[in-house]
Amino acid sequence: MIELRSVTKVFPGGARAVDNVSLQIHQGEFCVLLGPSGCGKTTTLKMINRLVPLTAGEIHVGDRDIRSLRVTDLRRRIGYAIQEVGLFPHMTVAQNIAIVPRLLGWPAARRRARAHDLLELLGLTPADDYLRRYPAELSGGQRQRVGVARALGADPAILLMDEPFGAIDPITRERLQDEFLRIQNEIRKTVVFVTHDIHEAIKLGDRVALMRDGRLVQHAPPAQLLSQPADDFVRGFVGTDRTLKSLRLTAVRDVMGASPARARIGDTLVAAREAMDKLGKTVLPVADDEDTFVGWISRTVATGSGLVGARVIPYLVLGSPGMPLNEALALMLESATGQLAIVDDERRLVGLVTFETLFERVRRPPEPPSASEVQP
Amino acid sequence: MISTTWRYLGENWAYVGQLVVEHLRIVFLANGLAVVLGLALGIFIAKRGREALAELVLYTAGILLTIPSLALYGILMAILDALGLVSIGLVPVVIALTLYGLLPILRNTTTALRSTDPATLEAGRGMGMSEAQLLWRVRVPLAVPAVMAGLRQAMVMNVGIAAIGAYIGAGGLGQLIFRGIANTRADLVLAGALCVSLLAVGLDLALGALERLATPRGIRKEARR
């Protein structure tokens, strides 16, 4: 969909901002350009819509060389989102979103309907209320949503985003990222996204292109970037906690070990003790007759005689199969037993995550990213 | 025309010099008064609880500034005449220029006094300074650059306006221009204009330098930023 062939940018004055970068971005792929400031990522992005002219090399969008198109036509086909300040303060939300449709000559009614739909897609509802407002009447997070809606205005196949969530507080940023992922799942645009934030890159990108001093250092899926950094620079950039970061990329269901051993509330304590001995465990999850998870039984409380049901340690937290491992880890630290029971929607016990499971996971480099989706 | 202007200035430097002195006297007198009045009034209206008054005073000063000089001279002459005072020459011109100079100084003083960093004030209070001490030792020194900037603006503006004062007998460089117009002598008009412009530019530069000097050393760097 987008192909950069040996792209080089030398600014007047001789600064080599981008140096011989080749990159292929597939249709529907979310590509993150990542790197420290001054690494050339923004310049690379701006060369795609010709805000910055190429010095050497070629860029193809679809199957056309970008230089074969009229520059305004090229840009009208490509959505462009920057930080919220890029909104036009003198135009309403509706007018801002309808800029490219208007440039393309859409009739007014169609423009209005499109703006309305986009606001709903981005969760700015009631949309009619927002259409009439001016950017000054919105919060930072709302303005940023409008910025994304504007980039989607004429339904372009490609979206270029230059640190679009950069100027927003961390909590709102996290929420916008989640929402954008949800929207991207729906609309499947080809996205090129610039950021200097490694967390954002790992969270959003299908593949991450890490740049340094104008060169492409590594272009790989996030998991591979974390587990097999190409060199010391990448290792340093992804950080010493890269194992922790990689947890985010795996879902609980991939490691949880199905149908774990359990005690029943009707079992005798004697039987429970025997089971623990046999399994070499000090703690077992407890389920009732419908297999609903009710709590824990441990060696320290399972003394004397009687039934398990009378000694159950109530649970504090629960996990779900779709949860990423980093969240599971956080919950485990709050759990009374240091383990996390994984339950389905009917709260039936379906799995168990222990520290051993996690150790095993982070020591073994993950092969190609897990097939199952990580749901937030 | 340019060469005759130079020749005129060369031949009549003593006379022109005297006009420059007259001109400066008017401007300095008026702006001196404007600084004193502006500071006093500014400190008065910048007190907390007087926001409404401050707004009114500044608004009125703003209106005064829009009144054309010739009209203001005329109105002041009529008022002075009605009071039985000298209604021609230096007096109405100096009063008019004082009024014009008031707004920039007043506005800058008020804004600067109001915008002292609350943390700075709290620190002063915490060290046991009284409100009066806080005003004179902290807020006023910190406001000096703004007041100077207002004065500079007022001065430059008044140098030009003072030229018209010659018409009602206040003297100064305006005389040169009026004589030039009356006798269709472009060289006189240009000589007058040149001197007025040079005076304005010179005062602007000099006051700019003074402004930097008057800025307390500690906040100089910050101000430059």
Binding site: V85, V100, Y134 | L70, L72, M77
Partner: protein, 246 residues
């Protein structure tokens, strides 16, 4: 509310002073200007100001626009030098020079005023257009606006407040300059003031001065209102928000 009160009292005061001195009719030997002559002078005065202003706008805005384009950016420092020095030249001198070059009368006055007014309008247009946030401009280009579309749909609307401020200040200054032009036979209220000064007749000075002052104040308020109205609503909200956040 109290602001409007001040304004109304002031304007009413000036108007009644004017009416009163006109009503006197004569002081000693001297006839005051009769009402119809006063009104004619007022009309002339407004005409001088408006015509000069219109010429200055017609020349100044395109010039400022041109200078703000990147290919002319080398002209910018020259412009700022010319305007800052130009502002120090008294209008009186400009009126004088043009009266000598083009002869006494209305035409010289208008030319002098227009020349003087062009400077602030060029400067404000230039400042307004170049102060548009670079990121906003880039967003416009990045979405596929042509340079002309960027100028008319984005940059120009955002420059309106500064351009209008330039027009307002220069118009008010021109009311004064037009009064000075009375001395080169351009007519207007200045002539009445000048006659009064040469006759040492305070009443007649007032007859010209009071309506001149009222005209300046009125135009200032009027143009402020127009300036606010002409500013796009969203921009007004943004400016207000910026002010509140400071």
């Amino acid at each position: 509310m109290r602001r409007n009160l001040i304004l109304v009292v002031l304007l009413l005061g000036l108007a009644s002073v004017t009416a009163w001195v006109t009503h006197i009719g004569r002081v000693g030997f001297f006839m005051m200007a009769p009402p119809e002559k006063l009104l004619a002078a007022l009309r002339e005065h407004v005409e001088i100001v408006l015509v000069a202003e219109a010429i200055a706008i017609a020349v100044g805005i395109p010039l400022g626009l041109l200078l703000s384009r990147r290919s002319f950016s080398r002209g910018a420092p020259i412009l700022s030098a010319i305007t800052s020095v130009g502002q120090t030249v008294p209008t009186l001198a400009l009126v004088g020079v043009f009266s000598i070059m083009l002869g006494l009368g209305l035409r010289s006055a208008i030319v002098a005023l227009a020349v003087y007014t062009v400077l602030p309008i060029v400067r404000n247009t230039y400042a307004g257009l170049t102060s548009v946030d670079a990121r906003v401009r880039e967003a416009a280009r990045g979405m596929g606006m042509s340079p002309a579309q960027t100028l008319w749909r984005v940059e120009f609307p955002l420059a309106v407040p500064l351009i209008m401020a330039g027009i307002r200040t220069s118009t008010v200054l021109n009311v004064g300059s037009a009064a000075v032009a009375g001395m080169i036979g351009a007519g207007g209220l200045g002539e009445i003031i000048m006659t009064g000064v040469s006759l040492r007749l305070v009443e007649m000075i007032l007859q010209g001065a009071a309506p001149t002052a009222a005209l300046a104040i009125l135009l200032d308020r009027l143009l402020e209102t127009i300036g606010t109205r002409a500013t796009p609503r969203g921009l007004r909200l943004a400016l207000r928000r910026e002010l509140a956040e400071r």
